[in-house]
């Protein structure tokens, strides 16, 4: 048989399509993303419980009381799992894919129902779409549509289209021929026959198709997490990558709740919209009698309920003060009446800086609105884009949790005040206690208690995990979880009675003005460097208002200036903040021009930092470490990094298509050879930052007498003839199968089992727990070596070849677009110690705390930032 070069043809076709049909794909991408952003914005806007309420009312209307109650409980549960945002992303994705799928599939279904030729043509295409493995088109989808939501939508669409078309065709075809003839006999036009006879009667079947479209879409949306769509699929993907069964289960349950809700709602909707379904349901109800659990409000009532909740949701966003506006100073009207909204937390430095900016921006011709929030809602509003910026973000420690949650939707415009510190404090009447070390052995005086604040606060975590241990206080003292007001009340009470007390505090804080307190010294630097007070903006603010963003980036205040302004504001009292600011500005002439220079709009950051970088990462330890490290460091230099977690294939494809900018974890020249070779023309290698690495076969150390690959010979029985492999097609697997086993004469005895990295790790975990013999393909560095005691089998014949190096790769345009960054990356190196300590820091902090871990690690490696990004 001649070899038919189907693969080559497909490659050529894909290349041709990407070069010649780019405009079409771009158009689709714009449409998809527009729809997706719109729906996502609507879903993300309201408070989670309000939206849950709206969804519950819909369930109440469509299915009855019980369904309404369960829907609310289900969505509240998702919210309580902290998955709300991701669930809404997934929901938006599914809804967009469904809408598009229906827009395509229903007309095609109708067409197929009316023409046998079309039907015959469409059917094999549908079979093709439904059975082609998702991975096969998921990766090309990136080539055409880029990573993220649009590729996910397309993959979902392809998968979910078929049932829509099939069910529509079936529904119309199964309408009684007599009825169609009757319509015809009365002179009905074909269009009206379709609209008045065929579609109404086919509706139950069509709705079953819609239901199927949604269900398939949802299952695909989870898989599409692999190409960086985020949402619950992203969580699942990440959980699998890290073998985090718990997180996987949470995200999985979230998907199930969404699925059940959507399934029940669409099937009920099917009954509601079809006249026959309505009649059947009505008859059933009449037969059953009215029951509270199946009571359904009239549509009007339900609509009113939804509207009221929606208005409430909308209203909440609008709440918050709107102060008057001042006319702009002549000649300095840069803003031209452009609206800017600032959010602030009612803390002294927040109020001061916010009203300062409000005044200055109004002088520059902007219309400024200042809204007061609690910290949480402020970050939410900022992330949702309701607020343009806020000036009171304590990073990286205090607001770490918010930053973790919303960081991706925010831009950090830099710190304007960096003299803050975290500390333990005692009243100054506590003689002999001046440093943390002095607390040792004095637990009895303080009742063994340190009065803490909210357990969720970054400071508390730092205190418990680092500071106390650092001074050996963790056995003696207990940190009492409480709240800031309670801590302050406790301090006030103790201070009044001159009793011993030690509290968790931070600077600047008014407590230092009101009471005579001593900050306990921290000679070991356990608290780390203090937070900076940062200005954060919503994503894209810098593009919308580059001038203001430039001013904000350059904004700095000294302690004297800040305290002076705060004092002025305190004197003026609430409601007169802006007058106080004006007075203060009069005393500090030129300050406004320094803050908002009219002509100079440049920033201290390189010009190339304007565009956010899309950095893809694999859920592998070394990549998490290096990616978050670069994120931290580059953000100090004014760059913005969007991190996208993806699989290897999609990353290479995304880089090659120019959709992604960077990946720091390219194992070359062997392990990822296939991907590299395929795309190397459109990729750039920015050099090695870590070596050496190695590929190997490993066995648990309890398997005695197996230290080298040669030792495996004749022991196939022990290992059941299997070496547990990873993803087929990876460089390591090819090497193991084609080189290593033959080199040691093991190829007759052993089989390398294709699987996946998570599956291999799961198998290793299982075998390890039972102390069963097992041989796995592994590589170094890998966390498995720290979690389990494993023996890397020696490879005296060098069959695995020399080690890979870990390199940074980028798309081909990157070096030209980012000359500065390219230089930095090319010079970047990490030692095994550095990488190891960073990885363990991240691992200790747990998933979701990567940024804190990196910040902490950088504190311990103070020269790293300068080494990575010399200026």
């Amino acid at each position: 048989m001649p070899r038919i070069q189907l693969g080559t043809w497909v490659n050529d076709a894909v290349d041709w399509l990407t070069t010649h049909m780019g405009w079409l794909f771009d158009f689709c991408k714009t449409v998809f993303l527009g729809l997706y952003d719109g729906i996502n914005a609507v879903l993300q806007a309201p408070q989670p419980l309000l939206l849950a309420g709206i969804l519950a009312v819909i369930a109440f209307w469509l299915r009855g009381t019980l369904a309404g109650v369960l829907a609310f409980a289900g969505f509240a549960f998702i919210d309580s799992l902290d998955l709300w945002e991701n669930a809404m992303i997934t929901l938006a994705l599914v809804l967009v894919a469904t809408v598009i799928a229906l827009v395509i599939s229903i007309p095609v279904g109708i067409w197929a129902a009316r023409s046998d030729r079309v039907s015959g043509l469409v059917r094999p295409v549908l079979d093709f779409m439904q059975t082609l493995p998702a991975m096969v088109y998921l990766i090309p989808a990136i080539l055409f549509f880029g990573t993220g939501a649009s590729a996910g939508i397309v993959a979902t669409l392809i998968f979910a289209l078929a049932p829509g078309v099939r069910m529509t065709e079936l529904g119309i075809r199964q309408v009684d021929k007599d009825l169609v003839e009757a319509a015809d006999a009365f002179g009905t036009t074909p269009r009206n026959t379709l609209l008045r006879v065929q579609l109404p009667l086919a509706l139950p079947t069509v709705m079953a198709g819609v239901n199927q479209v949604i269900m398939l879409g949802l299952s695909m949306a989870a898989i599409a997490g692999m190409v960086g769509t985020g949402g619950l699929g992203g969580d699942v993907n990440q959980a699998i990558g890290q073998l985090n069964v718990g997180l996987g289960a949470e995200a999985g349950v979230g998907i199930v709740i969404l699925a059940i809700y959507l399934d029940r709602m669409t099937s009920a909707l099917g009954t509601q919209v079809s006249p026959l379904g309505r009649r059947t349901a009505a008859r059933l109800r009449a037969a059953q009698g009215l029951k509270i659990w199946s009571y359904r409000p009239r549509p009007a009532v339900a609509v009113i309920g939804v509207v009221v909740l929606a208005l409430t949701a909308g209203g909440m966003g609008v709440l918050g003060g709107g102060a008057g506006t001042e006319a702009a100073a002549n000649g300095k009207n840069v803003g031209q009446g452009k609206k800017i909204s600032i959010g602030y937390i009612p803390w002294d430095e927040g109020v001061a800086s916010t009203f300062l900016w409000k005044e200055v921006l109004e002088q520059r011709g902007y219309q400024v609105e200042a809204k007061q929030f609690d910290a949480g809602p402020l970050y939410t509003s900022l992330a949702q884009g309701d607020v343009d910026f806020q000036t009171d973000a304590w990073l990286p420690t205090t607001h770490a949790q918010y930053w973790k949650k919303y960081g991706k939707q925010l831009d950090d415009l830099g710190a304007w005040y960096d003299k803050t510190s975290l500390e333990l404090s005692v009243p100054s009447y506590m003689k002999g206690i001046d440093s943390l070390a002095d607390l040792k052995g004095k637990a009895s005086r303080f009742g063994g208690k340190i009065t803490g604040i909210e357990s969720s606060a970054g400071e508390m975590a730092l205190l418990k995990s680092k500071v106390l241990k650092g001074y050996g206080l963790d056995k003696e003292y207990e940190v009492v979880d409480s709240s800031t007001p309670a801590m302050l009340a406790e301090l006030k009470r103790a201070y009044a009675q001159k009793k011993p007390v030690v509290v968790t505090l931070w600077s600047p804080h008014w407590a230092y003005n009101d009471y005579d307190l001593k900050k306990l010294k921290d000679p070991k630097g356990a608290w780390g460097k203090g937070d900076g007070v940062h200005t954060l903006s919503r994503k894209g603010f810098a593009d919308d208002a580059p001038t203001v963003a430039g001013w904000l980036k350059k904004f700095r205040m000294s302690e004297k200036e800040l305290t002076g302004l705060e004092a002025e504001i305190n004197k003026a009292g609430k409601g007169n903040q802006q007058d106080a600011v004006r007075a203060w500005l009069k005393q500090n002439p030129g300050f406004a021009d320094k803050m908002a220079p009219v002509k100079d709009t440049g920033g201290s950051t390189p010009a190339e930092a304007k565009r956010p970088l899309d950095v893809a990462w694999f859920p592998w330890d070394e990549d998490i470490a290096v990616t978050y490290l670069w994120k931290n460091v580059l953000e100090r230099r004014g760059y913005q990094l969007n991190l996208k977690q993806m699989d290897v294939g999609p990353v290479y494809t995304g880089l090659a298509s120019g959709d992604l900018d960077l990946n720091f974890d390219a194992w070359l020249p062997y392990a990822q050879k296939n991907y590299w070779d395929k795309n190397k023309d459109r990729l750039k290698d920015l050099g090695t930052w870590y070596e050496p690495t190695s590929l190997e076969i490993a066995v648990p150390s309890y398997v005695k007498g197996v230290d080298s690959l040669e030792d495996l010979k004749g022991k196939a029985d022990t290992f059941d003839g299997k070496i547990i492999g990873i993803e087929p097609g990876t460089g390591e697997m090819d090497l193991a199968k084609n080189k290593v086993l033959p080199a040691y004469g093991l190829d007759k005895e052993y089989e390398v089992v294709d699987g996946s990295t998570p599956a291999m790790l799961a198998e290793l975990k299982r075998a390890y727990a039972k102390k069963e013999p097992i041989a796995v393909t592994l590589w170094s560095p890998h966390w498995a070596y720290s979690d389990y005691e494993l023996t890397k089998l020696k490879d005296p014949r060098k069959a695995f070849g020399e080690g890979n190096t870990i390199r940074t790769i980028s798309n081909e345009k990157f070096p030209a677009e980012y000359p500065q960054l390219t230089k930095w990356i090319k010079n970047f190196r990490m030692s095994e110690d550095e990488l190891g300590s960073l990885e363990s820091e991240i691992k200790n902090r747990g998933q979701g705390h990567e940024e804190e871990a990196v910040a902490e690690w950088l504190r311990q490696h103070p020269d790293m930032v300068r080494r990575m990004t010399p200026q």
Binding site: D176, A182, F186, G187, T188, N192, L276
Partner: protein, 370 residues
């Protein structure tokens, strides 16, 4: 009813052909030339459903097309309103050739001039009884209020007043078909095509519906083409009957023609089981060789329309043949008892023969013809 200016009939079918399958035009040509018959064509993949069908239907007439299933009668019917396009031939309705009309004009004709009643009712299950009855009007674009009024009138005419808001599946078969009839009547179309409309009903209900149709016809005087496979029904309803076999009309005539003068054995075998007593009337039975200006006696007489059963009753009371008179009381024929009995036994011109071995030596029996 408006008086037609056309001399021609209301509906006229001119040598209609319908061939399904391959090369229909060629098939028609060969059928016309007698070069091929139906079976030969079938072997070649063409099905001749209707072959050379011609007939006329007069205004106010019920024209029944009767035949077994597969005889092509439904195909024929569907060519009359253009649901099927004839392969050859013409359909003229009020002088207009429907086969030359475009889709749009044809739909217009169907919506305003020709309506149809179906075998399995074909009511729209997602519409109420009223909405079903109003369907044709909706298609015509009649405003809602008038639509409802006319639909309700049509329903009342069919005995369904009070059921307007019900749904089709809540009605019995007979009632459903009344809705179908009302739907057809509501459009005020003059031509009603009825496709085995009563075949799916129980025999008793079928009879009721036939009666109702005849009653409505007396009032409305529509032109009706009625398809059936039931000869009894054809005889009851049809002013004229066309019998179809294998796509051809084998006989076209009144019920009596079919019954008494079958065109061939096929038709004759059809009529064998017919209860003649229900169909035959004095006009068919009488001996027309005897005529006079008056019946000659004051005994009960019959008219040409007097049914067979009644003739028997009259005959039993008389000692001489029943006289048949016309409107002017002129004697146009007589029906002797022998003839009555003979017709029952399919013996048309029974002449009594003397008995070979009489049981008693009575005088000669009176056998004289009146």
């Amino acid at each position: 009813m408006e008086i037609e200016v056309h001399v021609s009939a209301r509906l006229q079918a001119e040598s209609l052909y319908k061939v399904f399958g391959r090369r229909p035009d060629q098939a028609v040509r060969r059928l016309r030339d007698g070069a091929a018959d139906r079976d030969e064509l079938r072997a070649e993949g063409a099905t001749a459903a209707v072959i050379d069908a011609s007939f006329t239907v007069e205004p106010g007439e019920i024209f029944v097309v009767m035949g077994l299933s597969g005889s092509g009668k439904s195909t024929l019917l569907r060519m009359l309103n253009g649901l099927l396009d004839p392969t050859a031939g013409h359909v003229r309705y009020d002088g207009q050739d429907l086969t030359t009309l475009g889709d749009r004009e044809l739909r217009e004709v169907r919506s305003r001039k020709i309506s149809m009643v179906f075998q399995h009712f074909a009511l729209f299950p997602h519409r109420s009884v009223r909405e079903n009855a109003a369907y044709g009007l909706e298609v015509q674009g009649v405003p809602r209020a008038e639509r409802v009024r006319r639909a309700d009138e049509a329903l009342a005419l069919c005995g369904l007043a009070g059921w307007e808001k019900s749904w089709p599946d809540e009605l019995s078969g007979g009632m459903q078909q009344r809705v179908g009839l009302a739907r057809a009547l509501a459009t005020d179309a003059d031509l009603l095509l009825m496709d085995e409309s009563f075949s799916a009903l129980d025999p008793l209900i079928r009879r009721d519906m036939q009666d109702q149709l005849l009653e409505l016809q007396q009032k409305l005087k529509k032109t009706i083409v009625f398809i059936t496979h039931d000869l009894n029904e054809a005889m009851r309803l049809g002013d004229r009957i066309a019998v179809m076999r294998d796509g051809r009309i084998v006989q076209n005539g009144t019920a009596q023609d079919i019954l008494l003068r079958p065109a061939n054995d096929y038709v004759a075998s059809f009529t064998q089981d017919v209860d003649r007593s229900r169909v035959l009337t004095a006009g068919e039975l009488m001996d027309t060789s005897v005529t006079a200006d008056d019946p000659g006696c004051h005994c009960v007489t019959a008219t040409t329309g007097t049914p067979f059963t009644e003739l028997c009753a009259i005959s039993a009371r008389l000692s001489h043949p029943v006289s048949v008179v016309d409107e002017d009381n002129k004697l146009i024929g007589v029906v002797p008892l022998q003839r009555l009995v003979g017709f029952l036994g399919d013996e048309r011109d029974a002449t009594p023969e003397p008995c070979d071995s009489p049981r008693d030596k009575g005088g000669e029996k009176v056998t004289a013809r009146a």
